[in-house]
Amino acid sequence: MNQSESSAVAAPLAGAKTGEKVRVGYRSKSRTALAAHGQPYVWLAGGMLAVSLAMILGLIGLVLYRGTGTFWPVPVIQVELADGRLHLGEITRRGSYVPRDELIDALPPEARQAARALLEANEGISERFLIRTGNFELSHEHFNWVSDFAVKTTSYPQWALLFERQEWGRFYGLPQAFLIDGRPVATAPEEVWAAFNDHHGDARKRWRERRALETHAIGKINHTLEQARLQVRGAELATRNAEERHGSGSPAHQKALMNLGAAQAALAQLTLEAEEDYARLRDEINSINAENARFEILVSTAEGQTKALPLAGIVRAYMPNQLSFGDKLGIYFDRWLEFLRDDPREANSEGGVFPAIFGTVVMTLIMSICVVPFGVLAALYLREYAKAGPMISTVRIAVNNLAGVPSIVFGVFGLGFFCYLVGGTIDQLFYPAKLPSPTFGTGGILWASLTLALLTLPVVIVATEESLAAVPSSMREGSYACGASKWQTIRRIVLPRAMPGIMTGMILAMARGAGEVAPLMLVGAVKLAPELPVDGYAPFVHLERSFMHLGFHIFDLGFQSQNSEAAVPMVFSTTLLLVAIIALLNIGAILLRNRLRRKFMTSQF
């Protein structure tokens, strides 16, 4: 920039000098000097735009590629290593590195020569790939790195089977037999596979029945008992209060004692009933378990160990090396469906993210319900009612600035004010029976929503104010001239026309809220929350519960997962999902704005 500025200064001077010295006609022919176009600098500026754009596209491309690739079934490879070990699994990643000499020396003597030669040919760099070998309960490893110089043979066994299991992660093996009641009924691979397909659906159905019994039926009994226990505890507290306030033996105390007795009796009665229910349910569950235990598939690992897998614990099984494109597509979409609909398994590294999607959506909705009315009220006050002056412009600047205050600060405020101060007070007033375990006095979906509402309030205020300012004053004046009151004008003339702006503000606030994670880490997002904030027990909406959130899920899965290799692909899929939701909200905002704008365009003066 320096150079061009000074050159531009220098240009007229130079021209003047030459004009004096040389011919007179020169001036008329004078061209702009090449340097004045500053072409290289323009290119540098343009280049920066290109870099920004390339980064954005690269990022989106990466998320799309890795996020969509997670669920695509890949063939299962069997690798025989020079030292005789066998690995069966999926290749997940490749890389290159410079192996240390000890690695080569560790190879059996006959393989060493070939390995050295291979390394020599590649300038000392070795290719390696990461195989997901699964079978964690047998090998205690989920993944294995394999270097190309250590490979003896590779093959793709036709009958290799991949099991996704409820527990212990994936299993890779070759079918040996199908067992019913421990007796093999089929041993040829195709028969085993056919038998497996015959019985797997039923086993899973029974498994789901059993889980429904465990969660719903038993959960209901536990819930009732817990309520009764809380009643007793509440009655105890009331009795003590009555004793302290009115004295022992006073009428109030007597009455409290009676209540206590009734609550205790009810609890005893419920406990008795619950015992019966428990016994009945336990029998039911036991019979289902017994039925399910009959069906097993016997598989052998690459190294020859055998293992009988109960059918009920297998979520999905397929033969990766025999899949047609259509089959692959089927598995791919089935996995996506599972991802969107199911609970997570295996410390969140498998299964679905449904609770996180649900938590994100519910939290965002509650947040919008809180933020929009207040934001619109504040904007209306600032734009329509307050007298313009230095005071109001100061307030306006302050509100604008709040949009730039770090989100973590709001999180800190939310934790201190909502959770501990307000929540703690609510607990003492309304839930004393549960103390010392907090009800509202800890992070929860309500507090998270309120915190984010505060965070997004400036967005809504600013957007609404701008749209209010955009309504021409001629319309307001026209309305007044027709005899409308101020409120009538606002309600019938101003607000409808400002609606597109308000909606945009709301959707932008939702997009920001859905993507914020830092404050949520403090006010209620958790790693795993099996209980959704909305369920079948009165009062149906449990605003005090902690919840799962897609953004927090990304953080947790990527950074606090034990099996991070397996978690990373899931992180990419979750990222894709989150980015898609936010992009949809943003695009929705733009479309809505355009639509509403068009609708009102004609009616404007």
Binding site: M1, S4, E5, S6, A8, A14, T18, L34, A36, H37, P40, Y41, V42, W43, A45, G46, G47, M48, L49, S52, L53, A54, I56, L59, L62, V63, F374, L377, A378, L380, Y381, Y385, V395, I397, V399, N401, G404, I408, V409, V412, F413, L415, G416, F417, L454, S485, W487, I490, G515, E516, M521, L522, I554, F555, G558, F559, V568, V579, I582, N586
Partner: protein
């Protein structure tokens, strides 16, 4: 609406309906209330944060609780043989030369119990350890007894108790069975009673023990004692139970040595350090001998020194919690603390030197007693005139000074919860309440250097938690503020020029439909959740950069150069082609220049590594190989580039202009091109020359610079380079959008006028548009800066989170925001740590608020000016 006479002569028929009026009123009131309420709620954030933070700085207070005149002691000297329980219900004193313990009620002073300790024997040496509640006594025949003194608690049942006990109301107390019974708020009857348990006596085999101390080491207890003939014994205790008889046999193993300085008599004090690796012997004249007892069988003298000036007597000698810091009180009333540090030039056998670290100032009279807190680095000191002082050692603060009695304070003790202290003097026992929840936090302590135990010098340290009990939390906010600034600096360094140039290009040079399409794409980036960026930074970018450090470094130079070079090449095109292809400028940039830059980085990178960093940049950064020249060249390149450009524009271009005017466009282009190439070479040469010079002068680029510390240093995977790149990326959209807005709101007529006067678009942009929009651009930068300051997720995931104070671009850091996110969920609610984290949040709030307000004011002023143009 008073009706006036109408020209029609009729009264007005229609009146505004009551309902409409009501609705108007209701709307006005509710909107005003709601609006003001909402705005107040938002300011409430600030108010609440302040409300939580304020108690940190509240002055500490002590108030007298009660005085008990009947409690005296015929007291044992030295040592604080006085104790109170944690509920402040009862206490005990040792009487009759510490052969008996008497317990008393703290509310009335009534004596409760009287325990004979040693069956009539009188110990020659005695010591009591407050924290372990351990009593150790040595007798004339060489026996040593270890015993614990507890306030035992048990719950009574209402049966077979005297009638007055079950009648107690919650909170009431009564003496019972040598102890005290209290009805708890839950309704139970709690009996507390003094209990002493002695372990079987240990035969030491030596007689005339005059001083004794005991400490715990990972292997077991260690006892150290001094005999009258000047022999110091250090023994570790091992107990073994005989399986047949059930008898416990304790054996002593260890060594002994003669102590020096015996011509001044025997020492008055013997202290064994926390893990029994040192024994300290102190004489009244201020002489101190430190014995290294790491090898327990062969203790050696590590160090001898005087602690006090001549003529000053040592009158009190004690430990702080953890038993590493020594406290001395002298006859001039000064209280000072000492601990061992390990300087590099130490000549002692264990490499440590005892150093004076805190001078807590002079008291009113001779120090007569010292009482360390059991949980914090708080210290109480009693003086000969009956005054007691309360200090916080690490922050060098005098928390309180009160007259607690008449005559010397012979014994002083802090209650186990630090909520009270008791003192004994001629006027009896005085109990004082201490209200000091956060003694360690002052402005100076939070933002200044402090001398923490074990550090060589006062430093800024943030370390809020550790595994051990006697750990002192270190709340120095400076490393976190520094981390925040470091993250902001590096991300602005990358993001700001990129975003500004991109905005200038979009607004001034981009033509066609691309212009309206690119902006929304960049804007959409703004709503990309930062957790996504953070995750990509840590799991994709960081490993990628780690593998290709030289290539990435090279790319910072080759990519911009590729753009400029392509610009030079492009202007060499003949006019007709130049004009025709100008439409495709951006496409050329994107599909040719950018890949060219990236590709040349891949070529240049390895060469650069070989030439500058001895072929292995990570080894070079650790300082193992190569010389400092490479780093200098890298750092000086931009500077030299600027210098050469300056020389070029001031000296060369004006001369060349005369020549180029005579040449054709193509020749001029060639000339420009060669000028650029020559300039590039000159820059390289200049950087190399300067770098070699600096290196030759003995300055290594990896070294510690004054003021700023190391700039290049050991490579860590999650570092400022990665964070700067990704966070720069995160702030690009916001800066870009605001800057582009500012540029496009420059009135069109200015642009037209400039172009009509014959200026090129480049001249128009640089001399008309940018100066006009300058304040708008500045405000865009400030808002971007505000965003970078508070960004949490990216730094949390990609910055490594070590609170170090160095600018090293290849090292990590810990920011205020990430620190809050990591530590707040685990902090004790309303505790000191919790409130300090709120202070961190408040600091962050203030930082961004100031930056944003500045930006907003500048922006509004700019907008007003732009309208006037």
């Amino acid at each position: 609406m008073v009706s006036q006479g109408k020209f029609t002569g009729k009264q007005r028929r229609y009146q505004t309906k009551k309902r409409v009026k009501m609705a108007d009123l209701v709307a006005r009131v509710s909107i005003t209330l709601g609006g003001i309420g909402t705005i107040l709620a938002v300011t409430g954030v600030f108010v609440f944060l302040t409300y939580v933070v304020v108690p940190l700085f509240a002055a500490e207070k002590v108030e007298p609780l009660l005085k008990l005149q009947n409690i005296h002691s015929g007291l044992h000297q030295p040592g604080n043989l006085l104790s109170v329980d944690e509920h402040l219900v009862m206490g005990w004193v040792a009487v009759d030369q510490a052969t008996r313990l008497r317990s008393f009620r703290l509310d009335t002073g009534e004596w409760l119990d009287d325990l004979e300790l040693f069956d009539g024997e009188i110990p020659l040496a005695l010591n009591y350890l407050d924290r372990e509640q351990l009593l150790v006594a040595a007798f004339a025949d060489g026996r040593v007894k270890l015993g614990s003194i507890d306030f035992e608690t048990r719950f009574l049942h209402s049966e077979d108790l005297p009638a007055k006990i079950p009648a107690l109301k919650p909170g009431e107390r009564a003496a019972y069975a040598g102890g005290i019974v209290e009805r708890t708020p839950v309704g139970q009857l709690r009996l507390q009673k003094l209990a002493v348990h002695f372990e079987p006596a240990i035969e030491t085999g030596v007689t005339d023990i005059v001083l004794i101390d005991v400490s715990r080491r990972p292997g077991g207890q260690v006892v150290s004692f001094l005999t009258a003939d000047g022999a110091l014994h250090i023994k570790s205790l091992a107990s073994r139970r005989n399986l047949l008889t059930g008898e416990v046999i304790t054996t002593l193993t260890g060594g002994s040595m003669r102590i020096p300085h015996l011509d001044a008599g025997l020492p008055q004090y013997l202290l064994l350090s926390g893990i029994a690796d040192n024994v300290f012997l102190a004489w009244e004249d201020g002489h101190l001998v430190r014995v290294d007892a790491r090898d327990i069988s062969a203790p050696v003298i590590a160090e001898q020194r005087r602690l006090l000036e001549d003529g000053v007597r040592l009158t009190s000698f004690s430990y702080l919690i953890g038993k590493t810091t020594l406290v001395t009180g002298d006859s001039q009333g000064r209280v000072r603390t000492w601990f061992r540090i390990k300087p590099e030039d130490a000549t002692t056998v264990d490499g440590a030197v005892l150093t004076l670290t805190h001078d807590l100032g002079a008291g009113p009279a001779e120090v007569t007693s010292l009482a360390p807190s059991l949980r914090r680095r708080v210290l109480a000191a009693g003086f000969a005139d009956g005054t007691a002082h309360l200090y916080h050692v690490t922050s060098d603060q005098l928390l309180a000074a009160e007259k607690v009695g008449e005559g010397p304070v012979v014994s002083l003790v802090l209650a186990p919860k630090d909520n009270a202290f008791a003192s004994l003097s001629a006027s009896g026992l005085a109990l004082w309440k201490i209200d000091a929840p956060h003694p360690e936090t002052t402005w100076a302590a939070l933002f200044g250097k402090k001398h923490y135990e074990g550090l060589e010098s006062p430093q800024h340290v943030w370390q809020s938690s550790s595994g051990t009990d006697d750990f002192e939390p270190k709340y120095g906010l400076i490393p976190l503020v520094f981390g925040t600034l470091k993250a902001t600096f590096y991300s602005m360094l990358f993001g700001a020029p990129l975003a500004l140039l991109a905005a200038i290009y979009t607004s001034e040079f981009l033509v066609g439909p691309l212009r309206s399409r690119i902006k929304p794409v960049v804007e959409m980036m703004a709503s990309l959740p930062s957790v996504v960026l953070g995750f990509l930074a840590a799991l994709v970018v960081a490993p990628f950069v780690e593998n290709l450090v030289p290539n990435v470094l090279a790319a910072f130079f080759t990519v911009p150069l590729a753009f400029i070079g392509c610009g030079y090449l492009f202007q060499m095109l003949p006019s007709n082609l130049f004009v025709r292809w100008s439409r495709w400028q951006f496409a050329l940039l994107f599909f040719i220049a950018l890949p060219l830059g990236v590709q040349s980085a891949r070529v240049v990178g390895p060469w650069m590594e070989i030439l500058l960093f001895a072929g292995d940049i990570k080894g070079w950064l650790q300082g193992r190989i190569g010389s400092g020249t490479g780093g200098w060249v890298l750092m000086l390149l931009p500077l030299c580039g600027l210098l050469i450009a300056l020389v070029n524009s001031r000296l060369i271009t004006p001369r060349l202009r005369q020549i180029t005017e005579k040449h054709t466009r193509r020749q001029a282009g060639l000339l420009e091109m060669s000028k650029f190439a020559l300039g590039l070479l000159a820059t390289l040469a200049c950087a190399w020359l300067l770098g070699s010079l600096l290196n030759g002068a003995g300055l290594d680029s990896r070294g510690d610079f004054p003021l700023i510390g190391p700039v290049l240093g050991t490579y860590v995977q999650r570092n400022a380079l990665v964070v700067g790149f990704i966070m720069g990326f995160a702030i690009i959209p916001i800066i870009y959008t605001l800057a582009e807005d500012a540029l496009s709101s420059v009135p069109e007529h200015l642009r037209s006028a400039s172009l009509a006067s014959g200026a090129t678009p480049w001249q128009t942009a640089v001399r008309i548009i940018i100066p006009t929009a300058a304040s708008g651009l500045f405000s865009a930068l400030m808002i971007g800066l505000g965003r970078a300051v508070g960004e949490t997720m990216i730094v949390l995931m990609a910055a490594g989170n070590t609170p170090v104070l160095e600018w090293n671009i290849f090292n990590g850091f810990r920011t205020l925001s990430a620190n809050i996110a990591v530590e707040l969920p685990e902090a004790v609610v309303w505790g000191t740590h919790f409130r300090v984290l709120f202070l961190a949040a408040l600091t962050l709030f203030m930082m961004t608020f100031v930056v944003n307000t500045l930006a907003e004011i500048v922006r509004l002023r700019f907008r007003k000016r732009a309208y006037q143009l």
